[in-house]
């Protein structure tokens, strides 16, 4: 692999301890993701997909192992440092959209820029661009509940991309959508990836996974197979 590594994990482990039971969610994951890649993570329920995604997204920290982000070891980074990396580099897309109900579409999308301290004029410009790109500009003053599921997810993607992050983490982004809207979302993610953004996506859906360059299969907290998506690569080579 000649490209620069964005993510590199070594023997990543995550254990949850409740009163009496210790559950292993991740049992030593070695994963490398290069800049510009589109990686799908698949596996049955409870295999550790979401845990892995949360750790990659710096929302959670590993119990053991190491984690480098852009070459920097952040295994033991403080919550403050992780919050800083999140707001500068990451965008999140969730199955349940997680838009804030009390904010309008425009305000939701502008929120990451507010935390980055971007000026008002610049925010307005970038939010408008993001909405136009996602085809929801006519809905800017609506509240999330007034939107269809597909529109909500597009708003969520607009929010995830408005700060031009280098990595987008998507957790079952089409899980709550019908197939038409699901395909629309996947097309958007592909578009973003083609423009240079790295995408890591957790999914149950083999057809969604087809959009990725590489499919990582997880089982019982370990990577069992790692396949290049032949069709995709072939298409790119042509």
């Amino acid at each position: 692999m000649n490209k620069e590594l964005l993510i590199e994990t070594k023997q990543l482990q995550k254990k949850y301890v409740t009163d009496t039971v210790e559950t292993t969610a991740l049992a030593g994951v070695d994963l490398q993701i290069a800049k510009g890649e589109f990686v799908a993570i698949m596996g049955p329920s409870g295999c550790g997909k979401s845990t892995l995604l949360n750790i990659l997204g710096l929302l959670d920290s590993p119990s053991a192992g190491s984690f480098k982000f852009l070459g920097q070891d952040i295994t033991h980074a403080s919550e403050r440092q992780r919050a800083k990396i999140r707001k500068q580099n990451l965008g999140f897309v969730f199955q349940s959209f997680n838009l804030i109900d009390e904010l309008t579409v425009e305000e939701n999308i502008g929120l990451p820029l507010a935390y980055l301290g971007v000026s008002k004029a610049e925010t307005e410009k970038r939010v408008t661009e993001a909405m136009e790109r996602m085809g929801i500009a006519h809905r800017r003053n609506h509240f999330p509940q007034q939107l269809s599921g597909g529109q909500q997810q597009r708003a969520a993607i607009a929010r995830a991309t408005v700060s031009s992050p280098s990595l987008i983490l998507a957790d079952e982004p089409t899980g709550n959508l019908d197939s038409v809207h699901g395909r629309e979302v996947m097309a958007l993610l592909t578009e973003l990836n083609e423009a240079g953004t790295t995408v890591v996506m957790v999914t149950h859906s083999p057809s969604d996974a087809e959009y990725a360059h590489r499919i990582v299969n997880l089982f019982d907290g370990q990577i069992v197979t790692e396949n290049l998506n032949v069709r995709k690569h072939a298409a790119e080579l042509l």
């Binding site: 979401s50 949360n54 997204g57 929302l59 959670d60 919550e79 403050r80 919050a83 800083k84 999140r86 707001k87 500068q88 990451l90 999140f92 969730f94 199955q95 349940s96 997680n98 838009l99 804030i100 109900d101 009390e102 904010l103 305000e107 929120l111 990451p112 507010a114 935390y115 980055l116 929010r159 957790d171 899980g175």
Partner: protein, 798 residues
């Protein structure tokens, strides 16, 4: 970002209307109560502050020895004011004044009874600069026939203040020219109704010339306040040089003096014989504590509801953090939210205060105009309250909510725990404990007031009218009183008439007597009242030995006394009749006891009945009339006024009913009862509002559980019991905690009364059951709503 926070706060408040209403109403009422207390306190502390150089104006108070008796009094030895500026250069100026109490001030057209008629030397305005609206303060009291009126009285007498200047007014038997009108609105403990020159009346001369008697009230202005402490010693020396205690008619054997800053005079209730008004700081403390409680209960509502509904905000917190918000930023956001809520609540509170001001002024007797033009002090108070609520009530929810981890809350369909349920329960218990203590307090105060009303006073206070006789010179007064007594007696509605210088509830004066004890005469100071022949009969008082005064026995007007049983008991007499008794000042050998009256309450039920001497004086004091039962009052009073006008033309007939005036003494308690009742109800209402909100969130959270229970066969009753049971337990715990606190507090309060109701179990049971019932009613509404929801719907919602 700030705008973003404000936007989301406002939308949250608008979206959750019940939640917002509960918090806003509770906080607004709490803040309003605090503001009212603050206004009250501010007013009470502002007495005499408006005098120029108030910090170096002092009142000379005295500690007087009369044998083994020590008396703290607000007055001082009379001649001090004249002598001190001459003897001690640190005294810039000094004045002495005496308070002649209430009397009529008249023109030819009308008369007004005026309280606190002050006689003062001409220096008064150089020490106490009452603001003159018209007239010259430096010359106002120079002429003996001058009088200074308050703007209120001058307005009533002459219409305009300017017109008053130079006009004649009558007081007692003399005419005075108005030389000034002062503005009386700034609160002062002296609270003068009118000010006259001290030396117009030879009878009052001795007040300010006698070194051996406690005379006028003395006020000094010093050059520096540091002079006060050393000057106290010098005054003591001066007294020792000038006084001859052996010659004191009042029996003074020694005295020391204190310089009290004038701003402390109003709230000093320890001193006997206060000048005008005396405040009572205790009530300020009580109301302050109650207002604090209200604010606390409302803050608890905020904490409880904010954490209970935290699940709803969790997603937002998670998302903000995922996007890159730090925990500090989230805390900041929620603190801002609570401060904002507090600001909105305080605006509501200001309106509430404005609306309740007239009522507040009536209850407290204050005159506060408006709060909408914020004074800087009130603004500061408001700011402190807002920050207090915003930070104290806001910080727990803020820290709690900001703790949510994104990884957990953003995983779809997982609701995080709604905060520390144990803490919330503890806070509910605290709220109800406070409410219960106040409710129990209300019941006990009410019970005591009833007890006071129904206690046998030893006399019949119904249907007795007392009428003040105007001072029109003592010869005329005596003649008119005798004549009007007879003429009233002839009215068919009148049973009896008499006169008395002190009526029950008005206390008594101390008289110094020599009494027979073991065949020798001992000196004693005993409470004394002076009454007419028919007094005992009119009042329905009973003799337990000897005889009543009789007009047929000519000697009764000379040193014949009736004592009460308490006096006989204290003197240790087995048979009181014909025992020797005489005033220390009288040169007589034949003073005797002719009767013993059964004890009656001549002060108030606060104190035990103390020894009393009744002496006969058929010529002076108030005119007392007993009316037939069921007399039409308006017609009777009008008949009486017709007669009155013949004898006292130009003077209004100033009458009062004994039962009412006797109850005046419990005014403070009655006020306290009103305020107690009001606040106790408020606390329970606000606590229940919180409970209502809490119950609705609980029911919401347990929707799935309720659905499953119903599917499995649970009845509506089962589910209501399940949901209300938790809250009932909390109220019961609160009852257990409240009982000892309330018991202790109310027992302490009851110690103020010599005649008091017993604390009994029913008062506590009534309060407890009442609170429990209200709480259950509140919760069961939500429980019933949850229990009757279609279970299929509840389960499908998952």
């Amino acid at each position: 970002m700030l705008k973003n926070y404000l936007v989301i706060t406002l939308r949250n408040l608008l979206r959750n209307k019940v939640y917002t209403a509960i918090n806003l109403v509770g906080l607004a009422v709490g803040i309003a109560s605090c503001l009212l207390i603050f206004l009250f306190l501010q007013h009470e502390l502002s007495y005499d502050e408006s005098f120029k150089d108030a910090d170096r104006i002092y009142r000379v108070t005295s500690t007087v020895q009369k044998g083994d008796q020590t008396i703290e009094t607000a007055a001082a030895i009379g001649p001090l004011a004249q002598l001190l500026p001459q003897e001690y250069p640190e005294v810039e100026s000094a004045t002495v004044l005496i308070n002649m109490g209430q009397n009529a001030i008249r023109t030819d057209e009308q008369a007004f009874y005026t309280d606190n008629i002050i006689y003062a030397d001409s220096n008064i305005f150089s020490v106490l600069d009452f603001p003159f609206i018209v007239g010259n303060p430096s010359t106002a009291l120079k002429a003996p026939a001058s009088i200074v009126l308050t703007s209120e009285l001058a307005g009533k007498l002459f219409g305009s203040l300017e017109a008053a200047l130079g006009k004649p007014v009558k007081y007692i038997a003399s005419t005075f020219l108005v030389t000034g009108v002062i503005d009386q609105t700034a609160p002062s403990h002296i609270n003068p109704g009118a000010i006259l020159p001290l030396h117009f009346d030879a009878q009052t001369e001795y007040y300010v010339t006698d070194w051996n008697g406690i005379g006028g009230y003395t006020y000094l202005k010093l050059h520096k306040k540091e002079h006060a402490a050393p000057l106290q010693e010098k005054i003591a020396d001066l007294y020792d040089r000038k006084a001859t205690p052996g010659q004191s008619l009042a029996g003074i054997t020694g005295a020391t003096f204190q310089l009290q800053n004038i701003t402390d005079a109003y709230l000093d209730k320890e001193k006997e014989a206060p000048v005008g008004e005396v405040g009572n700081i205790t009530y300020i403390y009580i109301f302050g504590v109650i207002a604090g409680f209200l604010l606390l209960i409302a803050s608890i509502n905020y904490i409880n509801l904010a954490t209970a509904r935290s699940a709803k905000r969790a997603k937002e917190v998670g998302m903000r953090k995922a996007i890159g918000a730090s925990r500090a930023q989230v805390i900041q956001q929620f603190l801002l939210e609570s401060v904002l809520l507090a600001i909105v609540a305080s605006l509501l509170a200001l309106m509430l205060v404005e609306l309740t001001l007239p009522l507040f002024n009536t209850v407290t007797g204050k005159t506060i105009d408006s709060v909408l033009i914020l004074s800087s002090e009130l603004g500061m108070a408001l700011l402190v309250i807002v920050l207090f609520i915003g930070i104290v009530a806001g910080s727990y929810p803020a820290f709690f909510l900001s703790r949510f981890s994104s990884a957990e809350v953003l995983k779809s369909n997982q609701t995080p725990k709604s905060g520390n349920a144990l803490l919330r329960k503890g806070l509910v218990v605290a709220q109800f404990t406070i409410s219960l203590v106040l409710i129990t307090g209300t019941i006990v105060v009410y019970d005591q007031m009833m007890h006071v009303r129904n206690t046998d006073l030893g006399f019949d206070k119904e249907q007795v009218v007392a009428i003040s006789i105007p001072s029109i010179g003592w010869v005329k007064q005596k003649e008119n009183l005798a004549a009007i007594k007879q003429e009233f007696r002839r009215l068919p509605q009148v049973v009896l008439t008499t006169n008395a210088q002190q009526l029950p509830g008005e206390g008594a004066v101390k008289g110094d007597y020599l009494l027979e004890q073991n065949n020798r005469l001992v000196k004693k100071s005993i409470n004394t009242i002076s009454v007419g022949y028919e007094y005992l009969d009119l009042m329905g008082m009973k003799l337990s030995a000897g005889r009543n005064y009789s007009k047929d026995i000519r000697t009764d007007e000379q040193f014949r006394y009736i004592l009460n049983e308490a006096a006989v008991k204290e003197l240790g007499w087995s048979d009181a009749i014909d025992k020797r008794i005489k005033p220390t000042w009288a040169d007589t050998a034949n003073g005797t006891v002719i009767g013993v009256v059964k004890d009656f309450n001549y002060t108030s039920l606060h104190s035990k009945i103390e020894p009393l001497v009744i002496q006969l004086d058929p010529h002076f004091g108030k005119l007392v009339v007993r009316l037939e039962a069921n007399t039409p009052l308006a017609a009777t009073l009008s008949d009486m006024e017709d007669i009155w006008r013949k004898y006292f033309p130009g003077y209004p007939m100033d009458y009062s009913f004994l039962d009412e005036s006797f109850h005046q003494q419990y005014q403070a308690e009655e006020k306290m009862l009103t305020i107690f009742t009001f606040f106790a109800l408020l606390t329970i209402v606000i606590a229940c509002m919180g409970l209502f909100g809490l119950a609705s969130y609980m029911a919401e959270q347990r929707t799935k559980e309720i659905g499953i229970r119903k599917v499995l066969g649970g009845s509506v009753t089962d589910i209501v019991v399940l949901l209300t049971g938790n809250f009932a337990t909390l109220v019961v715990i609160a009852i257990v905690l409240a009982v000892p606190v309330a018991w202790y507090a109310m027992d302490t309060w009851l110690q103020n009364f010599a005649y008091r109701t017993e604390l009994s179990w029913w008062q506590f049971v009534a309060a407890g059951m009442g609170a429990l019932a209200i709480a259950l009613l509140t919760v069961s509404y939500q429980a019933l709503k949850a229990a009757t929801t279609d279970p299929v719907k509840a389960l499908r919602a998952e």
